[in-house]
Amino acid sequence: MTPEEKPGENTMTRTDFLASAAKSAVLIGLGAGGYASFNSLTSKLAKRKLTPVRGYPNSTWYSMAIDITTCIGCGKCVEACCTENDVPPEHFRTWVERYVVKNNGEVLIDSPEGGKNGFPDDIPESDIAKSFFMPKMCNHCDESPCIQVCPVGATFLSPEGVVLVDYEYCIGCCYCIQSCPYGSRFWNPKRHTADKCTLCYHRITKGKLPACVEVCPVKARIFGNLADPNSEISKFCRDNAVMTLKPHLKTGAKVFYKGLTKEAV
């Protein structure tokens, strides 16, 4: 404030008073209005809904459920898969893991040749606290990391919910193999592309069961349409406590396991 204005400092004219009163009123009004709108905004924001679980996008949404408590580890599914899909040796579209929890708490996991030829009876029963076999395969994730990273669109979620590889379009960069947290993808040395379980797409589109489901002697694998509430898989998932692998990664995995325990990787 300049010195010339100082004399008038203590004398407030009517006009000045009205002006400052008006300013204050506006400020108070703005403040109150802001406060009110802030509150209404926050209450509105609080009402916003989150839909963490989406419904099935199509009326056909295939997947598989696996009953760990039933599997006997015979390896028939692995053998059938390799035959059916001409899987190159030493690579697996599906495999079976054996988990043995010993009495001392140690966990042994193995999968010799993917469990293709079964498992040796090499651990004495007296050592075993708990044991189970666990078939593994592509989880046909709904929010699949492999599809996300494919640079050219050579892998995709089919309209039936199956994650497939377009062998004619894949450039073979292996990024999808790196991104799969389940080790379900592999490098096909004959095709020079990525390869993986197709849920036997060539079979299921013709009304057949996937080869692994067809040959399983103990019905440990249940294939079906998740979007059909009367399908075998829907009933299985309803009636049993099922879980997916690595749910914390939020891949939208949809191979459901009954009897999945903390030891499973």
Binding site: T69, T70, I72, G73, C74, G75, K76, A80, T83, E84, N85, R98, V100, N117, G118, F119, P120, D121, I123, P124, E125, I128, S131, F132, F133, G153, A154, T155, F156, L157, S158, P159, L164, D166, Y167, E168, Y169, T198, C200, Y201, H202, R203, T205, K206, K208, L209, A211, E214, V215, C216, P217, V218, K219
Partner: protein, 181 residues
């Protein structure tokens, strides 16, 4: 506009034009029809020929009342892929492996296997005999009967009505040991 900028714009314009042109020719027609992928690849993948035919095809011609099938075991679980056999049933035969080792893939005692599943100690339980000598896998199989073929329900070629047992009994010799182990 400076001449440099003009020339550069022309060069870049040509490059972009060429890119768009080549792209429009190169990208497969069905790409992007359903999403960022080649739609016709679905047909390509479906083309793969099935090697396992499925239980229904077996039942269409063959008897189907074994203890295993009663428990829901598929024919091809033990007999292997049968698609070729449904097309060339005279020349292409399914696997019949009745070695002990083969039965053992499921039934050999394994401490890691759930106890509710029937298992035997393969070294202790009649080690010299084939399992099938006592355990009748196909109980209805009489040596001569054209077992279980149900005329009229056979959708396949007529010839399929004949010699199931013959095929099986011939193949039943342990000619293919060690399919497993």
């Amino acid at each position: 506009m400076a001449p440099q900028a003009t020339r550069i714009s022309i060069v870049f314009g040509c490059l972009i034009f060429a890119f768009v042109g080549i792209r429009s020719v190169t990208v497969p027609e069905s790409f992007g029809k359903q999403g960022h992928w080649r739609f016709t690849s679905l047909a390509d993948i479906s083309k793969h020929e099935a090697k396992f035919e499925g239980k229904q095809a077996c039942i269409d011609c063959h008897a189907n009342n074994t203890p295993h099938t009663a428990k829901g075991v598929s024919c091809e679980t033990c007999h292997g892929p049968g698609a070729a056999h449904t097309k060339e049933f005279d020349t292409s035969k399914v696997v019949v492996n009745n070695t002990r080792a083969f039965c053992g893939t499921c039934h050999a005692m394994n401490a890691a296997r759930r106890a509710s599943f029937p298992q035997v100690d393969m070294t202790d339980h009649h080690p010299a005999q084939r399992c099938t000598e006592c355990h009748k896998i196909h109980p209805e199989d009489a040596p001569t009967a054209a077992a279980g073929t149900k005329p009229g329900t056979v959708p396949k070629a007529d010839a399929s009505a004949k010699p199931t047992t013959e095929v099986l009994s011939k193949a039943a010799e342990p000619t293919k040991p060690g399919v497993k182990k």
